[in-house]
C-alpha cells in the first residue's frame, strides 16, 4: 500500500503543539500553521491528536474534486497540494468537502491553505517539518516497514469510514494492536437531523 508517508500515532501525542509551531516555519505557508491539534476527551483526560492533511487517495481528494477553479493539484506521488494561488477563488468548497476538516480559508486573501506534506522538503527526501520535530514520534514520516522496525508490533490503517462511504488515504493512522479496526470510524456519529433522532 503506502510508500513513504506520514503516520499519526495518537498514543504518543503529548499535546505540546511542536507540530503546530513547526508547520508555521514551513516556507510554503510561512507564519501560518496548517496543523490541527485536537483534544479528543476534553475534561476527562489530556488525550490529544495531531491531524495533518490525510492526502486522500480513493476517492481522489474530495477537496480537489469539488474545486470549481481546479486550484487543488495532486502530484504523481499522491500529495494533494494546497490551492494554487493563481487559481483559488476562496469559495471554501474544499472546506465543506473534506471529511477530516483540514483545509483553512484565509478570507482576506480569498485563498485556501492546507498541508502539502512539506513538498519543499519531501521532494528532497527530507521529512515534513512537523514529523521531523515531533518530540514523541506521534507524527512519523517514512515507510511502514521503518515504523514497524522502530515500534515492534505496531498496526496501521489507512481507510476511514463515514457512514456507508469509505475513504482511503495516503497518510495512515496507528491503532492499538489489540483494537485493530478496519476501517477506522471517521467523523462524528449522526444522531439528530432536523430535531429528529436518527440513531
Amino acid at each position: 500500500m503506502m510508500g513513504r508517508t506520514m503516520f499519526i500515532d495518537p498514543g504518543r501525542c503529548i499535546g505540546c503543539q511542536a507540530c503546530v509551531s513547526a508547520c508555521r516555519e514551513c516556507d510554503s505557508h510561512r507564519g501560518k500553521s496548517m496543523m490541527h491539534l485536537d483534544y479528543t476527551d476534553e475534561g476527562h483526560s489530556v488525550a490529544s491528536l495531531p491531524t495533518v492533511c490525510l492526502h486522500c487517495e480513493d476517492p481522489v481528494a474530495p477537496c480537489a474534486e469539488v474545486c470549481p477553479a481546479d486550484a487543488i493539484l495532486i502530484t504523481a506521488d499522491g500529495v494533494v497540494q494546497q490551492a494554487d494561488t493563481t487559481r483559488c477563488i476562496g469559495c471554501a468548497n474544499c472546506v465543506n468537502a473534506c471529511p477530516f476538516g483540514v483545509p483553512k480559508i484565509d478570507l482576506q486573501a480569498k485563498l485556501q491553505m492546507k498541508c502539502n506534506l512539506c513538498y519543499d522538503r519531501t521532494a528532497y527526501g527530507l521529512a515534513p517539518m512537523c514529523a521531523t520535530v515531533c518530540p514523541t514520534g506521534a507524527l512519523f514520516y517514512g515507510t511502514v516497514e521503518e515504523l514497524q522496525a522502530e515500534r515492534p508490533g505496531v498496526q496501521v490503517v489507512d481507510t476511514f469510514a463515514f457512514g456507508e462511504s469509505q475513504v482511503q488515504t495516503g497518510v495512515a493512522m496507528v491503532v492499538p494492536a489489540e483494537k485493530v479496526q478496519w476501517p477506522v470510524p471517521g467523523g462524528l456519529p449522526v444522531v439528530e437531523i432536523n430535531g429528529k433522532d436518527v440513531r
Binding site: 499535546g15 505540546c16 490541527h36 485536537d38 483534544y39 527530507l126 521531523t132 520535530v133 515531533c134
Partner: protein, 769 residues
Amino acid sequence: MTADPRTVVPLDPALAPPGTRAFRDAGGISADRWHADQNGETLVPTHCCFCGVQCGMYLRVDRGGKVFGVEPRNHDINRMRLCPKGISAYQQVNHPDRLTAPLMRRSRDEPFREVSWDEALDFTASEIKRIQGRYGNDAFGLLGGATLFTEKTYLVGKFARVALKTRHVDYNGRLCMVSAASANKLAFGIDRAGNPFSDMLLTDCLLIAGSNVGECFPVMTQYVWGARDRGATLIIVDPRETAVARTADIHVALKPGTDSAFFNSVLNVVVEEGLTDKAYLAAHTTGWEEVRAKVAEYPPARAAEICGIPAEQIVQVARAFARAPKAMAWHARGVEHHSQGVENCLTVINLCAATGHIGKPGAGYGTLTGQGNGQGGREHGQKSDLLPGGRSINDPEHRRQICEIWGIEESELPTAGTSMVEMVWQMQRREIRGLIGICNNPFVSLPNYRVVKEGYDTMEFHAQFDFFLSETAANAHVVLPITTWAEDNGVMANAEARVVKHNKAQEPHPGVRTDAWVMCRLAERLGVGDKFDFADSRAIFEELRIASAGTVNDYYGITYERLEETGGIVWPCPTTDHPGTPRLFEDGRTYHPDGKIHLQAVEWHQPADPYDDEHPMSLTTGRTVAHFLSGNQTRRLGALVEQTPRPWAEVHPSHGFRNGEPVRVVTRRGSAVFPALVTEAIRPDTVFVPYHWPVPAAANVLTIDALDPRSKIPEYKVCACRVEHAERIDEVPAPPVPPGRVTYPETQASRTDPLPPTAPQGRGTSERN
C-alpha cells in the same frame, strides 16, 4: 558515491551510539553545514536557549547575517526533535521588543531615558561605591541566572567576590534543582545526574516522579516512549494525570507534599518482601541500618493515608521497580520544590541504592533540569556557597586554590552569603541596599510576590541586565541591554552534565553588549580591571578550565574544539584525551572519600503551610509547554502567546465549577482569579496554576516562601488554599516594553481580554477554533 547530505536515512532501530558521527549523520542534514548555500543562507549549529535538555538546532542566517529561522539538527541529545519553544526561540533574536540602548533614571518616579554605555556604567559604578562606602561591601548584592552561559556564570561569581567584594551572590538556579544537587552531594559526593538520557532506552522499569515530562521536557518523551516500546514498565508519580501519566503502567496520583512518605513506603515494601540487593548495600553504602529502621515506620497502609492513594499502588511500584533487572528513577521539581526537597530526593536515592539500581546501563537515577544551564550555572561559583569547580567557599584549602588563580589575598575573599530568597528578605530589612540582577526576573519567579515587591522597592539602587524589559527590569534604576544566546559563544551543561557549545550566529545589535563585557567594564570602574582582562568567551573558558582542574567538577579536558567535534562532553573530564563520564559509579565507587553511597534516613513531615477549614486544598504550580520560566522571553513570541495566552486554575469537576468560569484561588498570602479548567485529570483536593505570568494573574502571589533548610529552595509545589467563585477574570498584562517601542495589537488583544474565555486556554485550546 557520496550520499546527498539532505537525504534522510532512517535511524537504525538499535540506535547508533550517541556521541558518534554516524549517529549525528544518520538522518537529515549533515552534521556540519556551517557554510552558505547557493541562496546565501547559512546554518549555524547551536543549541536551544531554553530548558535543561539543550536540544541541538541550526539557526538559519540570511546573507545579511541575520537570524531568521530554525532547522532541526540531528544532535545526539534530541535527534532532530524540537518542542514549540525551541522552534520559536530564534524569534527573540531580532524581536522589536529587544533593548538596544542602556536605560537609566535616578529615581523610580522618573521615566527611563536612553543613555550612553559610559553614562550607565559610570552611574552604576558610582552607586556601588556610594552604597558600599556607606553601608559596607555586603550591602550590595548580585543575582545571576541559570540561563547564562557557564563562562558568564563563572564571571558572575568572580565579579561578586573580586570586584564587588561582597558575599551576597546567588542565582535563580536556587529556584530550580538545588534540592537534587544537595541530595546528590550528600549521598554521592557529586552534584549531577548519574546516567545519560539514552540509558532510559535500556531500562526495564522507568520511574518518573514529579516531572511533567510532556510539557516541561517534551523532547525527553522520545526516550520515555522508546523505553515503553521496548517493554519497560512506566511508573509516573504526579498529582496530575499528565500526558505521560495517561499512558503509564502505574500512575501514582499522590497528594502534593507527600513524596518522602511515598518513597519511604515503597522501600518498606522492598525490604519486607526481601527485594533489596544485600550485596550491593553491604559493599557500597553506609547508613543502611538507619534507613531500614526508618522505612519500617512507613507501612503501605500508613503511607496510603498520608499520600491519598491506594496502598496496593505502593506495593505495585515496589515490586515493579525492585524486581526489574534494570530500573531507573528520574525526578524534577515536583519532588524538589518542597520545604523537605532535599529529603525527598534522598528517599529516591535510597530506593535506587537499596535495589542495586545504580551505575549500570539502564539502571540509575537522574534529575531533569528546568533551566538551560541549571546544571552548569552552579558549578563554577555563582552559588552563594561555591567557588569554581564546585569548591566550598568556607574550605580554607579551596579558598587558597582559587585566590591563587584569581591573584588576590585569601583575606580579601568573602565567605558564604545567603540564598536568593533570603537576599530578598535582607532587602526588605534594608541589609542589602543595592543590587545587580543578571537575566533573572524575581518579580514573576519568586514565591510570595508581596515580599519580593517590598524588598525590591526598598533598594536604593537596582541595575538589571537583560535583553527584554522584564517586570523586574521595569522596576530598576539602570537597565543594561545584553546579547541573546545567538549573539555570543559559550557553553552550557544540560541535565546529563553534558557540556555543549553554543555558537554565535549573528553579530550583536548595535548598542548591545555581552554580559561579560559589561561585568569587565564595571570591574575596571571599580579598580580591578586587571583581574577581568578577558577578550572573549574563550578566554574566560580557558581560565574556568584551569580553575576547575582537579575538582570533582573537572572541566580541564573540555575545549571548544573538542565540543565542536563531538556531541558534547560529560564532566568530569580531567584531560584533553579523556572521553568524559556519561555514566557515574560504574565501578561502584562514589565521590566520597570512602567511595560509598551515604544513605540518609528521612522522616516525612507536613508541608510548611498547614491546611485548615479556610484553606483545605493543596495549590501546586508548574510549567506549560509554551512558556519558559518567568515568560519574559516566551510571552513575547506570537505563536507561544497564542498557544497559551494566560494562566488557568485546574480543578476537579467535584467542586462544581463550570469550564472557563472565573474562580478565585485564595491562600494566606493573597488571591488571584483565573478561568477554571475543569478536568478529571487532577486530584479533587488539589488545584494547579501555571506560574509564568506576572500580577495580577500570578501564581506567585499565592505561593509560600518557606525554604528547604539545606538547599533553600522554595516550596512552590504545595501550599494550602481554597477556591471560590469570582466575578471576572483579572487581566493578563502584556510584558513591559522599552520606551518608544511598538507593541503588537494582535497579541495584545489576546493577553488583555478581561472577559472569561469561552474555554480555558492552554491545554484544551484547539488550533481549529
